[in-house]
């Protein structure tokens, strides 16, 4: 084969798209070797485009065995050597190494951010044998043909080594924390109980769990205080309108009672009507965090899900690179070209054409900048394949937000009507939109409620309709949800835009937290308790943030990787020593927590027979079969038991049966759809189903 330029990408879809964009005919040849695909594209010369599968190299301990700590010596190695489930990586590295041998030029076309730069660097250094200094860098924010061609013809002359250094440090620091503290916890529990259970914590995981614990403590220790308010409505032209009392809350019940009593049966007089117009500016463009927050509040998608959907849309060249913290849209992205592209889609035709009529397009922007990428924006391409519902929703959200930022301010009018009832003032509020402005582009995602009021005049009399005292209580602080937790992490400056969502998922998978409105489990409490006592640095938000700042300084060449690493090692040494000395105590605490957590997982609900015990999934020692039994069985109080399916997995659903209110389970078997099981033999739903089946078989037998 003739000599060629080797272009390295981060993911297979990106390789395909780049090859298509750079091939003269747009039809690159796909070659497959060892189940690894790469593309041959013809341009001014032969181009070979091959992808990685995310990170192919990782940090690995130099030495054997996993049952000891501290470990501070590491190297970068192929993932298949460091991780059990990464055997397939070997073929990718072998194919890339082979392709590198005949290449005369190298271009790194991985995503232009910290992770992408590190992936490209590792491929060039290790798989291509030290080609990192010879390689050029393609920089692009969308996978559109135009931008890819430009990035190819005007590449950066070298890799961004400061970004790579920062990326390397981040991985190494995370490895040092993660492997040492996680091993200390896991080994302490294993040595005490003799049973293995993965217990992990990390540099960002620890402080994140600490926020959740602090909130959980406030919720669980919360004592409500009473307060009162006045609830009232007025009758205007036969319709009831809710009004607000001038004082929103009363600390004493007698004061609220006095108001209700004084207004009872009295007519109201309209004292004043005030109208106020306000302008509401357009929203700012999406950075990843804002997109995740909006998608959670509109569609209930977790930040991680939104991130994955956005990634797919980026690889489909429908939106720009989503892992950005920028809130800016520079003119270089070509506003008009994008809008022209969008106007080809029926749903956006009218809106995009409307914007194109404007002489000079100027977006409203936020303050945050990202040197690598602009804010998230649509490329102007229309989908080449049919999008699934979630992709369609996120794409629509990005498109509408993009158009909205160019809109004019919306004008809202609020009307405040003051009604005097026996010397007490009530307010009636009306709201309407005078000018839609940007809102017409962002429908249906605009959150605004209009309250239309009938024509009213000052001095007019209105009839109050029921003035009541309302008993209220102060509420505990709200639980975090994935979106608000992500915001909190962003606000305090821990984790990166690429890792935050995954950290929340890890806390779930380790069973430290549960539910969507996050509840910390006993295991989560115990982990933080141990770390708080013996290893405070791992859960300190301040230390984590300081470390983040230092790593960011590496990016701007004002800090050195070696300094950060040695500081981390020196900080970890005394903590790990303390953990080792207290291993027995820690092991006992963690083992008990694991045991409790495992028990908790098997509890199905309250026993419907004795009402004091709990129903649990148990295993018979004699038959080795599983069944549901009451915890009071062992006290000889309750003999309640129910059979269970013996195949597949069975888990408590923590949701009562709709037919009888008994606890339910979810059964999952290979090749079948999971189903909900109510184990109550006399559940009315079961009876209904039986009758239905009988009826159906009767109908089959006697069709007429």
């Amino acid at each position: 084969m003739e000599k060629y330029t080797l272009i390295l990408t981060e993911k297979p879809n990106a390789a395909k798209r780049i090859a298509q964009a750079l091939d003269q005919k747009g039809k690159p040849k796909r070659v497959e070797e060892k189940n690894v695909s790469y593309f041959l594209a013809k341009r001014d010369k032969l181009l070979v485009v091959v992808s990685a599968l995310g990170h192919l190299y990782t940090v690995m301990h130099i030495g054997k065995g996993r049952n000891y700590y501290p470990v501070f010596n590491f190297k970068w190695a192929p993932r298949y050597l460091a991780e059990r489930g990464a055997k397939h990586i070997r073929a990718w590295i072998e194919v890339i190494s082979k392709l590198a041998k005949n290449a005369e030029e190298f271009i790194d076309a991985c995503d232009y951010d910290i992770e992408g730069s590190l992936i490209g660097y590792c491929l060039l250094k290790y798989a291509c044998e030290n080609k990192e200094n010879a390689a050029k860098r393609m920089k692009f924010s969308t996978l559109t043909k135009k931008e890819l061609e430009k990035a190819y013809s005007e590449p950066l002359p070298k890799l961004d080594f400061a970004l790579i250094e920062a990326g390397k440090t981040r991985h190494e620091v995370d490895w040092l924390y993660g492997v040492n503290v996680s091993r200390a916890l896991t080994l302490a529990a294993k040595r005490w109980s003799g049973r293995y259970a993965t217990l992990s914590t990390g540099r960002v995981q620890g402080p994140t769990l600490k926020f959740l614990i602090d909130r959980e403590r406030s919720i669980r220790s919360f004592v409500p205080a009473p307060y009162w308010s006045i609830r009232a409505a007025v009758d205007i032209e036969g319709s009831a309108y809710e009004v607000e009392y001038e004082k929103k809350t009363f600390e004493k019940r007698v004061d609220a009672d006095a108001v209700a009593k004084a207004c009872k049966g009295k007519a109201g007089k309209i004292e004043k009507i005030e109208k106020k117009s306000t302008q509401q500016k357009p929203p700012i463009p999406f950075d990843l965090g804002a997109l995740q927050t909006e998608a959670y509040s509109l569609f209930g998608y977790t930040p991680r899900r939104t991130s994955h959907i956005a990634e797919r849309l980026y690889l489909g060249a429908l939106i720009s690179y989503p892992r950005t913290s920028s809130q800016k849209l520079p003119p270089a992205i070509g506003y008009r070209t994008i809008l022209k592209g969008l106007s080809k889609e029926r749903a956006y035709k009218r809106l995009a054409s409307g914007l194109l009529q404007i002489g000079k397009l100027k977006p409203r922007e936020g303050a945050k900048e990202d040197p690598a990428h602009p804010a998230v924006y649509p490329t102007g391409n229309v989908p080449e394949r049919s999008l699934d519902e979630s992709e369609r929703r996120i794409w629509d959200l990005v498109v509408r937000r993009f158009m909205a930022v160019f809109g004019e301010p919306a004008v809202k009018q609020s009307m405040k009507v003051t009604i005097n009832v026996n010397g007490h003032r009530f307010y009636l509020w009306g709201r309407r939109i005078l000018k839609e402005g940007w809102m017409k582009f962002y429908k249906p995602y605009v959150r605004t409620e209009e309250v239309a009021l009938p024509p009213l005049k000052e001095g007019e009399t209105v009839q109050p309709k029921g003035i009541l005292r309302e008993d209220k209580f102060t509420k505990p602080p709200p639980r975090f949800n994935p979106s608000s937790l992500l915001k909190k992490m962003e606000k305090v400056g821990i984790g990166t835009k690429a890792t935050r969502a995954d950290i929340i998922e890890t806390l779930h998978s380790r069973k430290y937290i549960t539910e969507e409105r996050i509840v910390v489990t006993d295991l989560g409490f115990d982990i933080i308790d141990v770390l708080h006592r013996y290893c405070q640095g791992v859960i300190s938000v301040e230390l984590t943030r300081e470390l983040e700042e230092k790593m960011e300084r590496i990016q701007t060449k004002s800090e050195k990787r070696e300094n950060v690493l040695s500081e981390v090692v020196e900080g970890l040494k005394p903590m790990l020593e303390e953990l080792k000395q207290r291993e027995a105590v820690i092991g006992e605490a963690l083992s008990n927590a694991i045991k409790r957590s495992r028990m908790q997982e098997r509890i199905v609900g309250d026993c419907p027979t004795c009402h004091t015990g709990k129903l649990m999934i148990l295993y018979s020692r004699k038959t080795r079969k599983r069944f549901i039994g009451c915890t009071n069985y062992f006290k000889n109080v309750c003999q309640t038991s129910f059979p269970l399916p013996q195949r597949g997995t069975v888990k408590p659903l923590h949701r009562p049966c709709k037919g009888c209110g008994w606890p339910t389970l979810i059964v999952k078997m290979r090749g079948r759809r999971p189903w909900t099981l109510c184990f109550n033999g006399s559940c009315p739903k079961k009876e209904e189903r039986r009758k239905r089946l009988e009826m159906r078989s009767l109908q089959k037998r006697n069709p007429e």
Partner: protein, 69 residues
């Protein structure tokens, strides 16, 4: 010594978690007394029944009611 509510080892009457909840209970009683004129027992009953009371505060209130404190 063990926590009177959850039996965790503690040098005090309550463990750290229940001690905090107990402190909150004592503090809020004054608010309830001023606002609604309730007695200590009425207050504890209200707290046990209230949907917004945290689980640890509820456990302490139940414990105090049981021991008629």
């Amino acid at each position: 010594m063990k926590c009177e509510v959850c039996k965790r080892e503690t040098p005090n009457r309550y463990c750290e978690l229940h001690e905090n909840a107990y402190g909150n209970l004592m503090q809020k009683f004054e608010v309830w007394k001023d606002a609604a004129g309730v007695s200590w027992e009425q207050y504890l009953n209200e707290i046990v029944e209230n949907q917004f009371t945290g689980i640890w505060a509820k456990e302490v209130a139940e414990h105090l009611l049981k021991n008629k404190e």
